[in-house]
């Protein structure tokens, strides 16, 4: 779309994994900051059925407007329906910027919407800024996380970006806040569902709270033996820390994939991160960079992780963990 009468920063209301998944709230917070620069409103697009709770939450966390499409047929997420409905909403209301959560679903509908509207979409952004011309500067990892690409959508609207969860901080909720509710009732019979969902159930293993955790213990190859893992789990329990790991442990079946910290896994930004026995491959260090304080333990003094930590201990990770736990218990 090439249109200069566009107005508004939109957020996709990605609600199906709320309460743990808070990306929508994180995006609203950042959008409010950006909106101030270009003097516009922040709107949330919400599709679903019986979603009053989310209207309330989004309003309390800063939304100025909520564009609501409520229909029983939208109870479950549908990429085909959501893409089609949202594309039409965008055509009707012309937002200038559209931020979408970097969930699997968000990263699927964003490019589809972009293709329908012939506009630019950036992916997995870890930073967003406004430049002097009012363009959204989208910063996204490239080359296996080795570098960052600075991207702009220069001539088309909206400027669409998917954003990595955990990058921005949500605002404190204020239930006195008010937002304008715009109810839209499109004729859903116009839209075709090309992919049929035969079954959809929440996975059994509880999703780990790695991305929100304040304290994280990450296990690498050097802490992958049973006795070593136990020592580190004990320390993690003591610190009330979430436990994550690097790729080799997932590949050897020692930990679930949702514990993976790295380029194809989770990005963490805790207050305190303890990296135990991981060498610090680039795909990993890119996912931990925004942690406040990193403690790394590794037997190899030449391990790359020692360049990415605040304090590094050359030694056996599990042995150190055991002694740290002992020290804390006293």
């Amino acid at each position: 779309m090439i249109h200069s009468n566009c107005n508004g920063i939109w957020i996709f209301g990605d609600h199906r994994n709320y309460f743990q998944d808070r990306v929508t709230l994180q995006l609203i917070a950042r959008a409010k900051e950006l909106a101030e620069v270009v003097h516009t409103y922040v709107g949330v697009v919400l599709l679903g059925w019986e979603v009053d709770e989310y209207v309330l939450e989004y309003t309390a966390h800063g939304a100025d407007k909520i564009f609501l499409v409520e229909d029983e047929r939208l109870r479950d997420y549908s990429s085909d329906l959501f893409t089609a409905i949202i594309a039409d909403l965008v055509r009707e209301f012309c937002p200038e910027i559209f931020l979408i959560s970097g969930s699997d679903f968000g990263r699927e509908i964003a490019p589809r919407i972009g293709a329908r509207l012939l506009t630019g979409v950036s992916s997995d952004c870890i930073a967003l800024q406004m430049d002097d011309d009012g363009n959204l500067v989208q910063i996204s990892p490239a080359f296996d996380g080795n570098a960052l690409a600075e991207i702009r959508t220069e001539r088309t609207f909206p400027q669409i970006a998917t954003v990595r969860p955990g990058v921005f901080t949500e605002r404190k909720h204020d239930y006195r806040g008010e937002a304008e509710l715009v109810r839209v009732k499109p004729d859903l019979s116009r839209y075709r569902e090309k992919v049929r969902v035969r079954s959809s159930r929440k996975a059994d293993a509880p999703a780990s709270g790695l991305e929100r955790a304040e304290c994280v213990v990450c296990l690498g190859k050097g802490a992958a033996r049973k006795d070593q893992m136990r020592k580190l789990q004990d320390l993690a329990d003591l610190l009330q820390a979430e436990v994550g790991c690097t790729r080799p442990l997932v590949e050897e079946g020692k930990m679930d994939h949702d514990r993976l910290i790295g380029q194809t896994g989770k990005c963490v930004r805790p207050e305190l991160l303890l990296v135990a026995g991981a060498s610090g491959a680039v795909q990993f260090t890119a996912a931990i960079q925004t942690s406040r304080c990193i403690v790394a333990v590794n037997k190899d003094p030449g391990a790359a992780i020692f360049k990415y930590c605040d304090i590094g201990i050359v030694g056996d990770a599990a042995s150190f963990a055991g002694r740290l736990a002992k020290e804390l218990k006293e």
């Binding site: 037997k299 190899d300 003094p301 030449g302 391990a303």
Partner: protein, 382 residues
């Protein structure tokens, strides 16, 4: 003369490198050749490098085959040895000297890796002095040979299914060396315990024993008395393979030394900023490049159908000497850490040593080179 890789060779090198990095364990030394790995290597055609497609092989040229051995050896010298010996001194002699029936019978299983090959010349009393082997094969008058003897330090011995056995046939003045194909499972054919060696520990090396083992005449490789010729075919090609193995081991040592010297900080700077270390790295790299060129030269001459005995000997001699020097330097660069089991360089060092000894000790290689030089001068050697 073009000394750059073709697109095909680049792709082969890249594929085998990726395979070796991902599939071969860097840490598991003794148990590196797992059943799964052997199966994967077979699927990749690593056991049929130069066997023609009609038998299920990859039909690669000798330079490409050398690249494969180098890349495997870079991660595991033991695995590289298994591949090299299987291809160049077991499958190749069968291809060159075998009858159609023998080729049809043995090559497909060798090419796929379903059967592993071995080359059995060395004995407790016959190392460099190959002609003094004592294993005897006597005709039983019933279309078979009865084989008695012992073969020592057989590479792949613990897993080999198709073994080329060098034995003395005939009697008195008519005694000569012949080669018999012995299949594992034949009555009277037993294996000793795996050797407990300083290095190359992932390769199942052991003794093979023959006690009145009955081998059909049809398993004679080449004519009776052709043993010497079969040995020459095998060893010339084998030397290219071991040269490639040496290059791989040396390259691994250099890669480790480069990485470590870039990260280890002493006296306020990384080791790699110190001139002494730079000299070591430069020497290692130059010798490795020279070794690689010697291997490729020998391989190219072989593919061109030209004599390559001298060059193969040079490649084996120089590359294995380079491997020993480079791995020694690599430990030195790592300092005390290099001497400990926690780092891989001490294994490279232990693996490198035997490459100067087997497949023709380097002393023999120099004899071969000198002999070639003297012959080329038009003089007969003593």
């Amino acid at each position: 003369m073009d000394l750059t890789y073709t697109a095909k060779q680049r792709k082969i090198k890249e594929t085998v490198r990726d395979f070796a990095e991902a599939e071969i364990s860097h840490e598991n030394e003794d148990g590196v050749l797992t059943k799964e790995l052997m199966a994967k290597m077979g699927r990749l055609s690593l056991f049929g490098l130069q066997i023609p497609e009609e038998y299920g092989g990859a039909a690669l040229d000798s330079v490409s085959a050398a690249l494969c051995v180098e890349e495997i050896s870079r991660v595991s010298a033991s695995a590289g040895l298994c591949v090299s010996v299987h291809n160049s001194v077991s499958a190749l002699p069968l291809l060159v000297h075998g009858t159609d029936a023998q080729k049809k019978k043995y090559l497909p299983d060798l090419a796929s890796g379903r059967t592993i090959g071995a080359f059995c010349l060395t004995e407790p009393n016959a190392g460099s002095d190959a002609s003094s082997i004592e294993t005897r094969a006597v005709r039983d008058g019933d279309g078979c040979f009865v084989l008695n003897g012992q073969k020592a330090y057989v590479t792949n011995g613990g897993i080999a299914g198709t073994c080329l056995i060098f034995a003395k046939t005939g009697a008195g003045a008519k005694a000569s060396m012949s080669v018999l194909i012995a299949e594992w499972g034949v009555k009277g054919f037993t294996r000793g315990a795996l050797e407990d060696m300083c290095g190359m520990r992932g390769n199942p090396v052991c003794s093979l024993f023959f006690s009145d083992a009955v081998i059909p005449e049809a398993n004679l490789l080449g004519k009776e008395g052709a043993g010497f010729r079969v040995a020459m075919t095998a060893l010339d090609a084998g030397r290219i393979g071991i040269g490639a193995q040496g290059v791989g081991i040396a390259q691994a040592a250099l890669d480790a030394a480069l990485k470590y010297s870039g990260e280890r900080v002493q006296f306020g700077k990384p080791l790699s900023a110190q001139q002494t270390i730079q000299n070591y790295l430069a020497d290692m790299a130059t010798n490795i490049e020279a070794s690689r060129m010697l291997v490729f030269r020998a391989a190219s001459l072989k593919d061109a159908g030209k004599p390559f005995t001298k060059q193969a000997a040079m490649a084996k001699y120089f590359a294995t000497k380079t491997a020993m020097e480079a791995t020694t330097l690599a430990i030195q660069v790592h300092g005390a850490y290099g001497y400990s089991k926690g780092y891989l360089v001490e294994r490279y060092f232990r693996d490198a040593k035997v490459t100067e000894i087997y497949e023709g000790a380097n002393e023999i290689q120099r004899l071969v080179i000198a002999r070639s030089l003297l012959e080329e001068q038009g003089r007969t050697c003593l």
